[in-house]
Symmetry: C2
Subunit: 256 residues, 2 copies
């Protein structure tokens, strides 16, 4: 099931407590043996070296503990990531897929767990049941459900769907925690110009029914978190714009 | 969207490299200051104490590095978890939901990232579109798609659905990596006895159409990884049986 750009198999690892304990002990023994050796080399007194080693073992354990606790309070260099759902909506050929792919790569590079969901790829395995308003609404709600479950499990998503109806987009918004609606804006005229597959043409001829922008309504978002005008921005610039917003809002890089 | 038993918000944390570097340096300084102080206390020679501290800083860095590399080779106390999909199938009232819930809790306690999916809870937000064989097949395939995406993102699932048709169960098997089909077995007679809501009764009267076990076929699994006979096992025992299988197969506890 190869959905998304690069589906990877992730193995989780758990380090048991006993491993951490044994590793800590082995390090402490090694470290103290080093100190004892150094003291012996410098002073040629094995009795005092061993005595010092005994004191060091206890002292370092305490100091290490307080060092850990102190660092726990220090926010420097920590990044908290709240999982989010980026929802790209717009007319067919407005540029959603390309922008979504670019954004997905930027997020992956940052080490963020993210799932790509695009209408074309999803369709094969997650069939839409029809092209009526109701059927399309339901399809979007199902995808929304999926993104919500991913979000709950710490996985963000980048979804790109025409999703023409405000109601179904708002359904996803309501049922996710960090919803980012991105209106990928381009006029119908521009979209027609970009359409090398001739979908608009066929829709205009009546060969495709309920085609958004031609024979079905596209309800423009009125409260989108981000609007990217693809008549002015390249797909790269658009992805960067969204990325910056996400970084500011959901990637809480802490400084001193 | 409260699906599953306890939906938690998971924040991911990333520790930046610069944090690790600064923390390592701060520890080394503190540790060496301790050694220098100890040596001074024992020998009253600040010059040699400082010199020893200088040697220690370099020596300990190398030793620490080799200690890390050696532990990287040691498997002791490491647990590798491969995400999996547990699929409970069986007649209505056979005990799928209870067993699924018990299993889910066992897995959560173990620290495994897992999503619970049960037909009843899913239905509210992930509507089935009908009760024909085709519609039911499609519904199961959609759930299967969801579990597959979760698996790809390192999240296991425990799904409990009547899922009466072999074909759709095999579809999920084919599209997931670690599929565990669990046949929750009970005779129709037993299920009728357990049915306090009177679903079977209504189905027998013809008030519910296409009811599995009465007016629709249940295709028994022929290659289920696990069979739990709920006429012989309690839900707790059944969950334990599945849990043991998962532990053996997907929780690779490594020993020396």
């Amino acid at each position: 099931m190869e959905i998304g750009l690069e589906a990877k198999d992730i193995d989780m690892f758990i380090e048991t407590k006993i491993r951490s304990i044994v590793k800590s002990i082995s390090w402490r023994i090694l470290a103290t043996l080093t100190t004892v050796s150094l003291v012996f080399i410098f002073f040629h007194r094995i009795d005092i070296a061993l005595e010092l080693g005994g004191v060091e073992i206890v002292a370092k354990m305490f100091i290490y503990y307080f060092h850990e606790r102190a660092w726990d309070k220090i926010k420097f260099g920590k990044v908290a990531i709240s999982p989010f759902v980026v929802w790209l909506t717009g007319l067919p050929k407005s540029g959603k897929t390309t922008i979504g792919n670019n954004l997905f790569r930027l997020l992956q590079k940052e080490g963020i767990k993210v799932q790509r969901l695009d209408s074309k790829e999803v369709r094969a395995l997650f069939p839409e049941t029809g092209f009526t308003r109701e059927a399309r609404d339901e399809h979007i709600k199902r995808i929304g459900y999926l993104t919500s479950i991913l979000e709950q499990n710490g996985v963000s998503s980048v979804a790109s769907f025409v999703s023409p109806y405000k109601e179904s987009r708002d359904f996803v918004r309501k049922n996710t925690k960090n919803f980012v609606e991105v209106y990928v804006k381009a006029s119908v005229e521009t979209c027609i110009k970009r359409d090398k597959e001739g979908m608009y043409e066929r829709a205009l001829k009546g060969e495709i029914i309920n085609f958004t922008g031609v024979s079905d309504v596209y309800e423009e978002p009125t409260e989108a978190e981000i609007v990217v005008d693809t008549e002015k921005l390249t797909p790269d610039e658009a992805a960067q714009k969204i990325y910056k917003y996400l970084k500011k809002k959901f990637l809480n890089v802490r400084r001193l």
